[in-house]
């Protein structure tokens, strides 16, 4: 674990992706600030709410998530295979410890990076738009049949925090997806396109799109959000489990 974190901190590519993930939500805040001259409500200014025209920062950030998490940390396994370090560690600490360690860090590092990025954005939104009262009508819209929507209107900050944690969680799962693919096909040529392809299918599903569990203040009620949460979680979880079992059963030495 320590070595993985150290590797993340020392690698220039990882650090540049780290700053990319930190700065993209801030770019969204700049766009929101420019578009809403009188100041948008701070709860809606949060990057996840998606109030900037075109949603470019959100699309750049969330549609290509596993590519970022792969560069962040989860392609470290490919590096290990190339240099043969994996065999060294496995023979010293055991296979299970090595695998679990990789899975833990591939979840935790993306989780923490996204959590920090979104938290900075949420705090900045509250500082920059602290007096903002404008809204596109979302906070005033009367839609009593949609319970999640009504709940969001009553507790906008709570909903933002819940979605913040949820998006960080799914970023961790995207990290696991990257690691799983790289364990099954330990070659960058296959890992990156395949991880992106699987993720993009999840994004493009019309009724269970993964963005449904990322965006607060939408028309989707509990039944849509929970079913797409379960659907996406189960798919990502199964891929992870399959990769783990596959790697544990096959011999590397």
């Amino acid at each position: 674990m320590k070595s993985n974190i150290l590797r993340f901190c020392k690698d220039k590519k990882s650090i540049s992706i780290f700053w990319f993930i930190i700065l993209l939500p801030c770019l969204d805040l700049v766009l929101v600030k420019a578009q809403w001259e009188l100041g948008l409500n701070p709860n809606l200014s949060f990057v996840l709410a998606g109030m900037s025209a075109g949603h470019i920062p959100q699309i750049l950030l969330f549609w290509f998530l596993p590519i970022y998490t792969l560069i962040l940390c989860s392609d470290s396994y490919i590096q290990d295979v190339k240099t043969g370090v994996n065999n060294l560690i496995i023979s010293r600490k055991g296979k299970r410890a090595y695998l679990l360690n990789n899975f833990y860090s591939s979840f935790l590092i993306p989780f923490l990076v996204m959590f920090i990025a979104l938290l900075i954005n949420l705090i900045l939104a509250w500082i920059v738009n602290s007096n903002g009262h404008e809204s596109s009508g979302l906070l005033e819209m009367r839609n009593p049949k949609n319970e999640l929507f009504s709940f969001s209107q009553q507790h906008p900050l709570l909903i933002n925090v819940i979605f913040l944690i949820n998006v960080s969680f799914f970023t961790g799962l995207a990290g696991l997806l990257g690691l799983s693919i790289s364990m099954i096909f330990p070659d960058r040529k296959y890992t990156y396109p395949l991880a992106f392809f699987i993720w993009f299918i999840l994004v493009a599903l019309p009724n269970h799109t993964i963005t449904m569990v990322m965006q607060p203040f939408t028309e989707y009620d509990y039944n849509y959000v929970i079913s797409s949460w379960l659907f996406n979680f189960i798919i990502l979880f199964i891929i992870t489990i399959v990769a783990y079992i596959y790697k544990e059963k096959t011999d590397e030495l």
Binding site: W36, G54, I56, I59, L138, P206, M212, T218, Y224
Partner: protein
């Protein structure tokens, strides 16, 4: 019977009045509360949908513009689509964005640039998913 009707003076007068009305009314009604239809295919990545431009005659930003959505085949219950008006010369926003719930209509003030200018209704998806869908309804650039 038909011949009688054709020759009747009442019908002739009614026809004349109808034609006269059709000519005169359009030039005067644009300042009142109208319902111009729109039919958009909403796409991702800000490939925005625009209607034809209409001239906004008023000098008052508080003369509200209106948008309503009667039908949308976006998945998920009563759905939301985001609308605003675009000014023709600068292609900039003439109003703030308004999120419209299916089956409802909303009245909102405009920015100064909208007054005495050509404006068009513009729309995009409020979600950042990949869905493409149809949104149908009506709008008016000024309602008083």
């Amino acid at each position: 019977m038909l011949k009688k009707l054709k020759n009747s003076k009442g019908l002739q007068i009614a026809l004349a009045a109808g034609i006269l009305g059709a000519v005169i009314i359009p030039s005067s009604v644009s300042a009142s509360d109208d319902e111009y239809g729109y039919y958009f295919t909403i796409k991702t990545l800000q490939k925005n949908s625009y209607t034809a431009y209409k001239f906004r005659q008023t000098d008052d930003t508080n003369n509200p513009w209106k948008v309503g959505m009667t039908y949308s085949n976006e998945p998920g219950g009563k759905t939301i689509t985001r609308f605003w008006m675009t000014e023709s010369n600068t292609k900039s926003r003439a109003t703030k964005s308004v999120d419209v719930l299916e089956g409802y209509e909303y009245y909102n003030p405009t920015y100064k640039i909208a007054n005495k200018h050509d404006v068009a209704l513009t729309a995009e998806n409020n979600n950042y998913n990949t869905n493409t869908y149809i949104a149908e309804g009506y709008w008016d650039e000024e309602t008083r």
